[in-house]
Symmetry: C2
Amino acid sequence: MSHSLLTIDGLQYSNWSRGIFEQMREGGVDAVHATLVYHENCRETLLRFGEWQRRFEQHSDLIVPVREASDIELARESGRVGVFFGAQNCSPIEDDIDLVGILRRLGLLIMQLTYNNQSLLACGCYEAEDSGITRFGRQVIREMNRVGMVIDMSHSAEHSTLEAIEISERPVIISHANPYSFHPAKRNKSDDVLRAVAQSGGLLGFSVYPFHLKHGSACTLEDFCAMVADTAELMGVDHIGLGTDLCQAQPETVLTWMRNGRWSKATDYGEGSAAAAGWPEPLSWFSDNRHFPNIARGLRQKGFSELDVEKIMGLNWLHQLTEGTRPQPGTVI
Amino acid sequence: MSHSLLTIDGLQYSNWSRGIFEQMREGGVDAVHATLVYHENCRETLLRFGEWQRRFEQHSDLIVPVREASDIELARESGRVGVFFGAQNCSPIEDDIDLVGILRRLGLLIMQLTYNNQSLLACGCYEAEDSGITRFGRQVIREMNRVGMVIDMSHSAEHSTLEAIEISERPVIISHANPYSFHPAKRNKSDDVLRAVAQSGGLLGFSVYPFHLKHGSACTLEDFCAMVADTAELMGVDHIGLGTDLCQAQPETVLTWMRNGRWSKATDYGEGSAAAAGWPEPLSWFSDNRHFPNIARGLRQKGFSELDVEKIMGLNWLHQLTEGTRPQPGTVI
């Protein structure tokens, strides 16, 4: 495999270990958006930062924190994986707008406004009714714009997503999902949303999580790359990247927690079902971090130019982070 | 007054306002150790950081955050007051050693191990028995050493202070107190402690809080400067500075809260008494931030060389922060 192709994965939530970081290097991954939290409140989010401080110190030969986009180049030059953080939900800021800036300073570069359910900011993609961005949500969007925290609507509902894009003065992203036209999952996105994301200057990160794919675990590399090509036509090749949603080595208890947090006594099966409650079977051509070169190969075979492959594999994410995480002038973080 | 004398105040807890920041500039203050919290837990400490973010943005022409010692020079060059943060107690870290690094990253450069009472780390100066540094305390001292957070024993008891100095591999400071030999207050420090602080490479910041002074509010500038001269002989002129303990414009409710936090239903009067429960009358020659030049003048009159005056007014604090807040190699904050 070649390490010359900048590779950035736009979402993972793995059971982090030295072995996984080594696989990332083998697969040529230069930077990864690591989910820091799902349901954690502010105090619990600090626990997660604490765990990462330890990882950065224990595995300093393999990983390095990304506090600003330029750190990705430094990571690459030193042959390490740059790790940047995002929250899959707005739970870390609780009801306090000041926490946006404080968490940004600690290194939270990306935040979803909601995770499947209604949040204090917006509506999730599993709710029956979507009343859009809340009063608090409007304020938080402006504050995220100000401090340079990227707005991610991956798990949000349609109307909320379109409204967030309208309110935000900076690009809005979908870090990990696929087009609904490719596979009609609740988590996948309509053409309207994808067009609006592109018009905002944002990005869609393609997921390889089988529940987001046509034919599920049997989806072929060719199917996947055909979807990428169709989306490139819809959104423009500058607005697409990867967001694998890889959850390596996570026990099923974590999946259950991701789906249920502490909000339900009944069991919610998310994208699965009672009959298929566990992790789906991984793809044959993308089962761990060593397989990123397969995607690059598939894109080339599909006919993408080398520059377009570079954009999709990493350059577009680098651009998003460079532009999206710069605090506005006069902002103290 | 001259702005050419680097002036650093080693402790204030004022009811911060534009007027106070303006007085600081009038008094030639280049940097101030602002108490961020007394009794606040971790989550509440973030509220205080949030308030300061707003202040830095609203008064960006007057104040600027000091995240590392070199920011003090930048503040000075731009004619603004650099603000660096300390906690008067270890309450912000709760029972979690990872919070030391996280709070350091947010800008907490100094932390006291205890405030008057027993804490999870050490014993305060008002307890009847002092059992020294706790098991958790030993770990936190090493972690503070590692991340570059200065250990401050201003409100700690004698044995705990001496033990902290023994355990710490980096200098230990007393940011605001005076020698017990000058005035026998519980908060003032024995010659043993002062010698040990100096031997550790640390610093004593002289307080102008009347309860720490001979003759209280009637203490003269000459009395004060004689104390400074005696202490310079005991500790060496490289180990003394200012720590005024100025609490400008604070209502008496805040004084009561400082003394009682939420730990007592009975009223503790701290250094006051039931008959004199309120703030003491300020000194005539140091009632607000405009009066720093009086101290410099007094020191010159007492016979200190210009270099020694510079050391006491600010250079020694700058040195402490420069040396004391540098994280150890391999430390990720």
